[in-house]
Amino acid sequence: MSRISKTFKKLKNSGKKALIPYIMAGDPSLHDTKKLVLELEEAGADMIELGVPFTDPLADGPAIQRAHERALSQNVTLRKVLPLVEEIRKDTNIPLILMTYYNPVFKYGIEAFVKEAARAGVDGVIVPDLIPDEAGDFISIAKKHKLDTIFLLAPTSTGDRIKKVAKASAGFIYYVSITGITGATLTVDETMKSTLEKLKKATKKPVAVGFGISKPEEAKLVADLADGIIIGSAIVRLIAEGKDIKGFVKAIKEAI
């Protein structure tokens, strides 16, 4: 069982929900990223999502777009993120998930990427512009190297898509809370509730909800409907302002 699956199982057995913060690797520097991961763990994060900088992050809103730009200005790319994971792995066992756009992976070579990511200690990969229909090779290679492939579902997803995404996903399924990009305003509505219910009927795999969660109250509402929550833009904004993230993450952890 993967580190991600084990973590979800353990949390479930104790009636808890997973808290998965997102930070951008290399924002503001690679050295800071390692420090931030360890701080997040201390503050109560159950897994960490690490963004890989890309020039054209089309699923991201302004806060994370700027984080991509800041990290790129430090010359941080996938090639440097993998050794960073190896570094972080020396000090923690927390599940680490890469969130990367597809082209850096494609250019690296799918097989080479999967092998090296797994070796470095990456547990799962989220590729926001890769749908299962185009991911045949990626899924089979990742399976071979025990790297979880986490696909996304959206409020617009139909029954067919739900089945397809549920089948292709390993570790967990990422439910995008809003029809939109990262950092937009969250609304917890009937669509979310009914899609999550449909999803639970279609699969036993854990479901984490992300996009737009920025307050403890929102985190609680969403966590009650799923197995975990992902918080990105709100944390990335704090990092950009040079503010403390530990207090914020603790408050979220207590709320859920």
């Binding site: 512009d129 749908i131 617009t156």
Partner: protein, 400 residues
């Protein structure tokens, strides 16, 4: 026997490995809905009639196939014909696609259309389509392009569109597409994205090609009527690849030399260009797998061209496929060559071409002299140059 080309793309939008759909999951239902609507309406008698009526009475089709006598004499070789897409309403071929998609959006009960634009021609065409059928319209444009295509920005606003400046990344066409995709991801339930070229996720490359293929269909009939034979060579500029595939498509099963001309900018060695085939490699960008100008880390490189409409890091997937088959050859013209051709056509024929189209003229200038006087070239004059006059004056150091 002639080898007839396979009908592509396949059901997943692949052109022998190129193309496909690389988008956020949120957009998948919209792409399926669009594909279904498109395939349905392209066969629908009423839709076809409505569109062809608009082509005739609104766009001004068929556009002329004009024999450029003085340019031909000046070059001293092949006879040069110009397919006059510059005479389309709004001044470029972009309207062929924009009107058809606006009509389709209306049929799909969308209330709003959005588009990206580089040169501003597609933005103007989409804004025009929105006024024509009665839809809300928002156009995304990089701040660098807003500067060099100021005239078109004002035109879009006159037409009632909201023009939104994109101030991130390289501030050109690719960033405008990112922003349009973000908007679409957010407002997909009531918005249709009018992508302006034969690029992006399936079904766009196919749909835009089909809506532009009227260019080649007309040209083929017109040249047979004028000359009693097919041309020897077709030339068109390639940004995303819509005017070129639009001209070439009707000739793909004929044995004709076809040349696509990319933007060579300041030269390939300089790194400041948009010649994806000469300087790029296979990548996945903005919805499809194709040739891409990228670095070793898979990040997308900045591009440069004097013409905003060719200043783009990737190219339509069908072009990669046709290049592999050696059906189409791809070359490039530099900024200087395009600027010279811009002036040459203005002086010899009284036609000021768009800087994009001037790249195609530049290729004709290179190849025509060595061809026999009986041979025929058709150059796709994709647009008129009014929008570029100010920028060319600036480059020449002339204050207006």
């Amino acid at each position: 026997m002639k080898k007839i080309l396979k009908k592509l793309p396949d059901s997943k939008g692949h052109f022998n490995g190129y193309g496909g759909r690389f988008v956020p999951e949120t957009l998948m239902p919209a792409l399926h809905e669009l594909e279904k609507a498109y395939k349905n309406y392209i066969k629908d008698k009423n839709f076809i009639e409505e569109l062809s009526m608009l082509q005739k009475t609104y766009i001004g089709r068929p556009t002329a196939l004009y024999f450029a006598k003085r340019l031909t004499e000046h070059l001293g070789g092949a006879k040069i014909y110009l397919k006059r897409e510059d005479l389309c309403h709004t001044g470029a071929h972009k309207i062929n696609n924009a009107i058809a998609q606006a009509l389709l959006a209306k049929k799909m009960d969308k209330t709003r259309i959005i588009a990206e634009t580089g040169a501003g021609q597609h933005g103007v065409a989409t804004a025009t389509g929105a006024s024509l059928v009665g839809l809300e319209c928002e156009i995304y444009m990089g701040s660098e392009d807003i500067r060099r295509q100021a005239l078109n920005v004002f035109r879009m606003r006159l037409l009632g569109a909201k023009v939104t400046e994109v101030n991130i990344g390289s501030r050109t066409l690719k960033d405008a597409i990112n922003e349009a995709l973000r908007d679409w991801t957010t407002n997909v339930r009531y918005t249709h994205y009018v992508l302006g070229t034969a690029f992006g996720p399936h079904p766009y490359p196919q749909m835009v090609r089909d809506f532009q293929s009227v260019i080649g269909k007309e040209a083929r009939q017109q040249i047979l009527k004028a000359e009693g034979k097919l041309p020897d060579c077709l030339i068109a500029c390639v940004g995303g690849g819509s005017n070129s595939i639009g001209l070439f498509y009707a000739f793909l099963n004929d044995n004709i030399k076809m040349t696509g001309v990319e933007a060579g900018g300041l030269g390939i060695e300089s790194g400041k260009h948009a010649a994806r085939f000469a300087g790029g490699s296979l990548g996945v960008f903005q919805g499809c797998k194709s040739y891409l100008l990228q670095d070793d880390d898979g990040n997308v490189l900045g591009t440069h061209s004097v013409s905003a409409g060719l200043d783009y890091a990737s190219v339509g997937p069908e072009h990669c496929y046709l290049r592999d088959l050696k059906k189409i050859e791809y070359t490039y013209a530099t900024d200087d060559e395009a600027l010279k051709a811009f002036e040459l056509l203005s002086r010899t024929e009284g036609i000021i071409p768009a800087l994009e189209s001037a790249h195609a003229i530049a290729e004709a200038v290179k190849v025509a002299p060595a061809m026999s006087k009986e041979s025929i070239i058709i150059v796709n004059l994709s647009g008129r140059g009014d929008k570029d006059v100010q920028e060319v004056a600036r480059i020449k150091g002339i204050g207006l």
